[in-house]
């Protein structure tokens, strides 16, 4: 089969590799129909993720048709059309029972590596680093899905791939960032960064009906999207820090937003709001994550900062002084995708929520190396879908 393999910094290649097989009784094999390129894929592509190995197959946001199941898979069958959540969760541990799916105790075969880096291991993730399990990803024609009973969300209505694919990652990630900020009608919400997660965070925040909803970015197309699809008031960050500050004050009665969602993390692409990070010799995350810095400064006293971005290693220079002096609360984490998939699918089916507008490009899998370049370099590229 064809698969997108990682070989080094900005070196990804389409290769002919063996098809995946059932390894464990609870596995299924899915023939991929669409796979997204996520901001954290870009981070891997850029060589900023530790513990990648040459030949690793990328991709953690994918969907397709079940073509084979192991003997212990009972809830999905051959022929089912499914979206697969990006964290791999066992369903049997204490965290899974509490629906903290991205904290699963059991699915990371390299838990000992994660323990060295994080203290304790979170759930494994497809197509990411070996610290997070080293599972082959879904930017391929076929992918093995462990614990298929726990993971797969069946799509039974006639919906296009781009309407439901983002249930695998981007949409639940945005929703959880919003939900854990505990938005109330009197809140003023600022979404800093209007990439795919930022766009959907605006759309999800809108469901909680805050008094004020603001999006910030530098790319006109993204600002237009946040205004047209999310109903946000938008601020062009290229106006400069002082001007941006003045507009935020104006929109929030001089208090600042009570909720800030810092939706551009260190792995975001080169255009739009993003990190101006000093690349360290080892190429891992470091330096100043300017979005986080701006978000913390902008936040109202006693406000909440929600961080949906995926960070793997350390980030320096977090302005803890500002956070402490203003008694801010922080919420973050990999999304517990399984928890949100079904309710969000229902909202999509009812027409209350649409995530397909962020998909700006569809490309064939063979063009994936170009797609990564495009995502990195072109303002008009918000989300790319790969079709094997």
């Amino acid at each position: 089969m064809k698969a997108l393999c990682w070989y080094g910094k900005r070196d990804v290649r389409i290769e002919e590799v063996a098809e995946p097989t059932i390894i464990n009784p609870r596995d299924a094999i899915v023939a991929v129909s669409s796979a997204g390129i996520c901001g954290s894929d870009l981070q891997i592509w850029n060589g900023r993720t530790p513990s990648m190995r040459a030949g690793d197959i990328l991709g953690h946001e994918f969907m397709g048709e079940v073509v084979e199941i192991g003997p212990e898979v009972h809830k999905v069958q051959r022929g089912d059309r499914v979206v697969v959540p990006y964290p791999i969760s066992c369903g049997g541990c204490w965290h899974c029972k509490r629906e903290e799916w991205s904290l699963c105790d059991n699915t990371n075969p390299n838990a000992w590596m994660a323990e060295k880096l994080f203290g304790y291991s979170p759930a494994a993730i497809y197509g990411s680093s070996h610290v997070l399990g080293g599972y082959a990803g879904g930017q391929a024609q076929y992918v093995r899905v462990p614990f298929a009973d726990v993971g797969c969300l069946k799509i039974e209505r006639d919906l296009d791939d781009e309407q439901v694919l983002l249930l695998a990652d981007t949409l639940p990630t945005a929703y959880m960032a919003v939900e854990q900020a505990g938005i109330q009608p009197d809140d003023s919400v600022l979404v800093w960064g209007a990439g795919p997660i930022g766009q959907l965070a605006v759309s999800c925040a809108r469901l909680f009906e805050p008094r004020v909803l603001i999006a910030i970015d530098t790319v006109p197309l993204r600002l237009q999207m946040a205004r047209d699809y999310g109903g946000a008031q938008v601020i062009d960050e290229s106006l400069g820090r002082k001007a941006v500050r003045e507009v935020i004050e104006e929109l929030t009665g001089g208090r600042g937003p009570s909720v800030v969602i810092a939706a551009a993390s260190i792995e975001s692409n080169g255009h739009g709001v993003g990190p101006r990070l000093e690349e360290h010799e080892n190429g891992f995350e470091t330096g100043l994550p300017s979005t986080l810095w701006d978000a913390i400064r902008a936040c109202q006293k006693g406000g909440r900062v929600s961080i949906p971005g995926s960070y793997v290693s350390s980030v320096e220079k977090i302005p803890l002084g500002a956070a402490a002096s203003k008694s801010l609360s922080f919420k973050m984490g990999h999304a517990h995708v399984h928890r949100y998939m079904r309710p969000l699918l229902e909202r999509i089916e009812k027409g209350e929520l649409d995530s397909s507008f962020v998909v700006t490009h569809k490309m064939v899998l063979s063009d994936a190396p170009v797609a990564y370049e495009l995502f990195r370099q072109v303002d008009g590229c918000v989300k790319v879908l790969l079709e094997p």
């Binding site: 070196d11 097989t21 464990n24 040459a54 204490w94 075969p109 399990g133 462990p146 490009h361």
Partner: protein, 276 residues
């Protein structure tokens, strides 16, 4: 050598629960390694210096002797620091690991009630034969990776919440261990606490190395417990072995497929592929 082992394992007894044999093995190695390096280097320098004549030779020999002395002194000071404490304790390598499993005590006790199950539970236990009357003959991997054979007595309390084993009276190098099941707080299941102890004899290789993959006994035991938890909680051991991956040889250092696309190329591809 034995005294050093004692010093380290002795001090580890106090923070036993998460006591890391890796740390102890590491510090053991650095103490020994440093001392040997000084002594060896110093010795060679001294010999080399003495063979040469004149001022240069004397300086080299002097430096060599200084290094030998430093090696010896380093060793002595470390001994003084911890030795007294250690002598009150055992001369055992002790490894403690624990894990919490979302099962009832009864379910876990049931799994652990047969000492033969130790072969699948513990990777340091290679084989075990029932001799009757709570006596077993077993093959275990010892410090240094050597396979040692021992007769052990296994005791299980009435409810099966505490299982302990040790070599029989009169066996030369003691090997013992225990598994204790304790209720975890709230709804978290059961804490499984495992202790394994080996008597470390003078001349034994460093406990760190088990050959092959160079994993130490503590890491091995941690992996064992993780696997036990996985089997109990999700019925299988998650694995990636045998999954597909790219096999193309990585080229010369720095070789990459990366090519900065021209603006025209990007605009072209974004126009032809863009949906909106």
């Amino acid at each position: 050598m034995l005294e050093e082992t004692m010093a380290i394992t002795g001090s580890k007894h106090f923070d036993a629960r998460l006591g890391s044999s890796r740390e102890s093995a590491g510090s053991l190695r650095s103490m020994r390694g440093g001392r040997y390096l000084y002594a060896l280097g110093g010795g060679l320098l001294t010999a080399f210096g003495l063979k040469r004549s004149g001022f240069g030779g004397a300086v080299i020999a002097g430096t060599g002797m200084f290094l030998v002395a430093r090696g010896l002194l380093t060793k002595d000071s470390k001994r003084r620091g911890k030795g007294g404490l250690a002598r009150q304790h055992s001369d055992h390598l002790r490894i403690d690991r624990s894990i919490t499993i979302l099962k009832s005590k009864e379910e876990l006790a049931n799994q652990l009630s047969r000492p033969q199950s130790f072969v699948s539970l513990f990777s340091h236990v290679r084989a075990i034969w029932d001799l009757g009357d709570g006596q077993f003959h077993c093959e275990v991997v010892g410090p240094g990776g050597a396979i040692i054979e021992r007769d052990i007595t296994v005791g299980i309390d009435d409810q099966g919440h505490r299982i302990s084993w040790r070599t029989q009276e009169g066996e030369p190098a003691c090997y013992s261990g225990q598994i204790v099941l304790i209720d975890a707080p709230g709804d978290r299941g059961v804490e499984v606490h495992v202790t394994v102890r080996y008597e470390v004899m003078p001349g034994d290789a460093e406990p760190r190395f088990l050959g092959g993959k160079a994993r130490d006994l503590g890491e091995l035991l941690a992996d064992d417990l993780r696997r036990f938890k996985q089997l109990e909680e999700c019925g299988e051991t998650p694995s990636t072995s045998g999954q597909p991956r790219g096999r193309r040889r990585v080229g010369w250092l720095g070789e990459t497929s990366f090519r900065q696309l021209s603006t025209e190329e990007l605009v072209l591809s974004s126009r032809s592929e863009a949906m909106r």
